[in-house]
């Protein structure tokens, strides 16, 4: 099992105790695409953050590629984020004062064995825009840069937080298609948060989260190509 989340719990204490995650279990094989569905406040982002090593759980374990990251200290978590996990954000989070290629170099700069920037740009179809600033790109193109930035370190796990949340249908299809391509080309395991049920069709495994609990974990027998997704 590549990703294994067992009995994960997380609460916030602010006078009142809010249980954000309650004994969450989640498993994914290497090279799969997983989708976490759920309404606002269901704990999707918290779960994603713990898996990404930017937050800590109160209890339970998370294992990625055989390593229990919930036991990692801060330095190990930095190393984990640096080499093994990539992030794609809903609003791209590109650095506005860096050109496209430079935004990708932000990550390749600290990676031990990064892919070549040009190679990654070519993979996301933006070779001709490497010297543009983010502002000069469309939303879809900016998300492609964000994906390129995430995959340049050749991570084993790619975490995507609403990657199409800010995009129109056509552009979203393009971005999702790119993620499928990355999954196929680099063998990257992808875990995606979305509230868009239609996207679930392109995933191998779908987790429904409600009030901090996994309500359902379903395996798709048929994977729909992103181009055919309708919503």
């Amino acid at each position: 099992m590549f990703l294994s989340v067992s009995n994960l719990t997380k609460s916030y204490h602010t006078g009142i105790v809010t249980h954000v995650l309650k004994d969450v279990d989640l498993k994914m094989e290497r090279g799969q695409i997983g989708v976490i569905l759920g309404p606002s406040g269901s704990g999707k982002s918290t779960l994603m953050n713990i898996i990404g090593g930017v937050d800590r759980a109160d209890g339970g374990t998370v294992e990625v590629g055989g390593e229990r990251i919930t036991d990692f200290n801060d330095n190990q978590l930095v190393e984990y984020r640096r080499e093994r996990v990539g992030f794609v954000f809903q609003f791209y989070n590109l650095m506005p004062n860096l050109m496209v290629a430079e935004n990708i170099e932000v990550v390749s700069n600290i990676s031990k064995k990064p892919l070549k920037t040009d190679e990654v740009l070519s993979a996301v179809g933006l070779s001709d825009k490497k010297n543009r600033f983010p502002r000069e790109l469309s939303g879809g193109e900016q998300q492609r840069v964000s994906i390129a930035r995430a995959i340049v370190k050749n991570p084993k796990l790619l975490l995507c937080d609403e990657p199409t949340g800010a995009l129109d249908l056509e552009t979203s299809r393009g971005v999702l298609s790119l993620l499928q391509k990355v999954n196929a080309q680099f063998g990257t395991t992808i875990l995606m948060i979305t509230h868009n049920v239609a996207i679930a069709g392109m995933a191998h495994v779908v987790f429904r989260l409600r009030s901090g609990e996994v309500e359902e974990a379903a395996h798709n027998s048929e994977i729909i190509p992103a181009e055919r997704i309708e919503w």
């Binding site: 916030y12 602010t14 801060d74 930095v78 860096l98 390749s108 600033f133």
Partner: protein, 784 residues
């Protein structure tokens, strides 16, 4: 203002307390320095000028070969009050006391403690003498067998700085003055022979003192009196020393304080402007909610006005107790009635109101500019952030390493911020370099100036002009003759015209290259040549200050000098030109001590121990120390403010870098070290700024103090300043490094959510906005 907005003001201040504390300190220091500097000079001026006016300080002192017969007639003719007072020196076992008769028209003594003279046998003493001799009011002192009762201490306008002889430079140890009644003075049996009558004159018309002095000199000469020890108050150290200090204080402190004050206001104004600008999204939101421009302007004006008022007021209040110690240190050297501290209400008001007005104005302009935009434009704050300027667009950095590229882009991200940093560091460096350079220039004046010019270290000044035929000068000594003159049309530029023998070796007279100049020609000192813009071959036209006669001389050489203003010419030619008998001299310069009759001398200068003159530099040291401390403080605050601003403007980037796996040191290296080239450039820009500022200021000082200090830049001090600025930069980075470390990874994530608040389709994310405390808790957990 709406109550809820008022609450927000406090929260905004609390959120960025480090920055606002820095701003308050900057304003506070500006006001403090301004109030203290003006307070010190006003207090001293009030003491010195007030004393001079109230107790009628003399404009002139002189002695005559015979008593002036009809003083009243002379007073009428000359328009001066003339007081003849007697003085008699009494030797004591461990000192010497000069007894003076009390002046009634001029140089009236002021009782500073105890009471005035009432009975025979009463004596008033100068407080320093009392202190050094262990005497107290109510006690007694025995003088040449007569016992006097000490009834009080006093200050006399013509002995504010107590030196024994008129031409002395330093006070004589154990020497003091006392006032006794004329009858008591005459009662000393020896007094009839040894007491000396000295005249003090004060002109009724307080304008054109020089012209009136010349007229009085002419009248006395016409009446057949032979004059000796003729000295105007400007050149009488007993009177002029504190005036010189006030001039120095005013000329150095006031412009520096004002410049610093305005600089701090400017820096804070820029900071506030950027803070308001960065709050554009909130302004747009409030605007959209129906707030009026006036309400928003008032809301955003609250912080700068509050900060500047608090800083200005605190600085002003803190300055009040700072004045006294400095004034006391001055009073330790001078005898003046202590009139307490004097503060000009205008200056106090300026210290509080100028920062409020300047900072308020800059904030007002910034807010109005922002409010000109529509609410929609303001709410698109991110779009503004995403904009790239022309420099960023023009930069092609493909071949550079990523870290270098990142740092360059980080710096050019905001041109105003970059300019602010560069110019701020320049300003701090300029002040620092100025402090060091001024100090070094004064050191050079002390090291290479008048004291070290003496190859023969002893200078004997005579009360009356001597003649070589009557009083020959022994071997190892040389005669000089000198006059006080001023260039035609520039009375403020006084200098000595000195006649020296052609084979003179008593003074070093070298040209700018260090080669000895001939003494048998006319040589001018370089500071005087510089002030009068004269070179070799030019002619200097000047007026003898004593009698108003004009002369002109062609200049043959320029003497390397530091601060000194003189013209050397051959001895015989000097006497011929000024109409004095051949062989006339006023001074003897000697390699060894000569046993002249003390009564003939008006002063002896001993240059064998130059360190003894260093105390005269105490005020400069004080100014330099305070200027240097201020510069370091400015540097700290500017660097801290800009660095903290940079961190705030990069919170999202820093947070993202952490998410991507950058370690704390790597983030610090990328963000904080990006300012290094700007600090470097800022420092080196400070050097030409300092030279330009220094030249203007030194020229201004020269006009007031009649002394052109050569501005000498010492490379060692430049390096020390450089090291100091970079040390401050490193410390600031460490301080800000903590702030940077506190930025959590969740900020970038919250930023994502934050953007969605204005997007109806993303309202699902509102969970995070309604549970802010959870977000806060998360942030603390995300800290890495």
């Amino acid at each position: 203002m709406v109550m809820v907005l008022r609450k927000r003001v406090w929260r905004m201040i609390k959120k960025n307390k480090g920055r606002y504390i820095g701003i308050v300190i900057l304003i506070l220091v500006g006001s403090l320095y301004f109030t203290a500097a003006t307070g010190i000079s006003t207090t001293l001026e009030n003491m010195v000028v007030g004393f001079a006016e109230e107790y009628r300080q003399e404009d002139l002192t002189f002695s005559t070969d015979k008593p002036i017969q009809d003083i009243a007639a002379l007073e009428e003719e000359s328009g001066a009050l003339i007081e003849a007072y007697r003085q008699y020196d009494v030797k004591l076992p461990n000192g010497e006391l000069r007894l003076l008769s009390p002046g009634t028209k001029v140089n009236i003594p002021a009782v500073t403690s105890g009471r005035g003279l009432e009975n025979p046998g009463d004596i008033l003493l100068d407080p320093h003498f009392c202190q050094t001799q262990g005497l107290t009011i109510g006690g007694q002192i025995e003088l040449n067998g007569k016992t006097f009762r000490i009834v009080g201490t006093m200050a006399v306008p013509n002995y504010v700085y107590i030196i024994k002889n008129l031409r002395d430079v330093l006070p004589t140890s154990g020497f003091g003055i006392g006032i006794v009644s004329g009858a008591d003075l005459s009662a000393f049996p020896e007094a009839s022979n040894e007491a000396v009558t000295v005249y003090g004159a004060r002109f009724q018309d307080r304008k054109n003192i020089d012209a009136q002095t010349t007229k009085l000199h002419g009248l006395l000469s016409q009446k057949g009196y032979s004059l000796s020890e003729w000295l105007d108050s400007e050149n009488n150290k007993r009177v002029s020393m504190p005036w010189g200090n006030i001039s120095s204080m005013k000329s150095m402190s006031f412009p520096v304080a004002t410049a610093f004050f305005l600089l701090s206001c400017l820096i804070v104004g820029v900071m506030i402007m950027r803070t308001v600008k960065s709050d554009g999204v909130v302004i747009g939101t409030l605007y959209a909610q129906g707030y009026r421009r006036r309400e928003l302007t008032r809301h955003y004006m609250t912080i700068p006005v509050l900060l500047s008022a608090v800083g200005g007021l605190a600085g002003t209040l803190l300055a009040l107790p700072c004045v006294r110690p400095v004034v006391n240190s001055m009073l330790a050297s001078y005898i003046l009635p202590d009139k307490g501290n004097t503060f000009s209400p205008l200056n106090l008001a300026l210290a509080v109101l100028v920062p409020v007005a300047l900072i308020g104005l800059s904030s007002f302009l910034a807010i109005r500019r922002i409010l000109r935009k529509t609410a929609v434009d303001l709410m698109k704050g991110d779009e503004q952030k995403a904009k790239v300027n022309f420099i960023e667009r023009a930069l092609r950095l493909d071949r550079l390493q990523f870290n270098t590229k990142f740092r360059i882009r980080e710096q050019v991200r905001s041109i105003p911020r970059l300019l602010f940093l560069v110019l701020g560091v320049s300003a701090a460096s300029m002040i620092l370099l100025f402090g060091f350079t001024y100090n070094y220039s004064m050191d050079v004046v002390m090291d290479k100036g008048s004291i070290t010019r003496y190859q023969y270290p002893l200078e004997y000044n005579f009360k009356e002009i001597q003649n070589l035929q009557e009083r020959a000068v022994p071997k190892g000594a040389e005669p000089y003759n000198a006059l006080r003159c001023y260039p035609e049309g520039r009375e403020s530029v006084e200098f000595y015209l000195v006649g020296m023998e052609p084979d003179s070796i008593g003074f070093k007279v070298n040209d700018m290259q260090g080669n000895a100049l001939s003494r048998d020609q006319v040589n001018i000192s370089s500071p005087l040549a510089s002030r009068l813009k004269l070179t070799e071959g030019d002619t200097i036209r000047f007026v003898n200050k004593l009698d108003g006669k004009s002369y002109s001389l062609a200049i043959d050489g320029i003497v390397e000098a530091y601060g000194e203003q003189f013209v050397y010419m051959p001895f015989d030619e000097f006497n011929r030109m000024t109409g004095q008998p051949v062989g006339s001299y006023s001074t003897v310069l000697s390699s060894h001590e000569i046993d002249f009759d003390e009564s003939l001398l008006s002063g002896v200068m001993d240059a064998r121990n130059p360190e003894a003159y260093e105390d005269l530099n105490a005020l400069t040291t004080l100014i330099v120390t305070s200027v240097t401390a201020l510069a370091v403080l400015i540097a700290v605050i500017i660097l801290f403010l800009v660095t903290s601003l940079m961190i705030d403007e990069n919170r999202n980037t820093i947070s993202l870098l952490k998410i991507f796996g950058y370690r704390g040191k790597e983030v610090t290296n990328l963000i904080l070290n990006s300012s290094t080239p700007a600090v470097f450039v800022g420092f080196w820009l400070g050097l030409p700024f300092m030279l330009a500022f220094g030249n203007v200021l030194y020229g201004y000082v020269a006009e007031i103090t009649n002394m052109l200090i050569p501005m000498t830049v010492n490379p060692l001090y430049v390096l020390i300043s450089f090291a100091l600025i970079f040390a401050v930069y490193e410390i600031t980075k460490r301080l800000c490094g903590r702030k940077l470390a506190k930025i959590s990874m969740s900020e970038a994530l919250s930023e994502l959510l934050g953007r969605s608040q204005y997007t109806p389709t993303n309202l699902k994310k509102s969970y995070h906005f309604f549970v802010p405390s959870i977000n806060r808790q998360r942030k603390s957990m995300y800290n890495n």
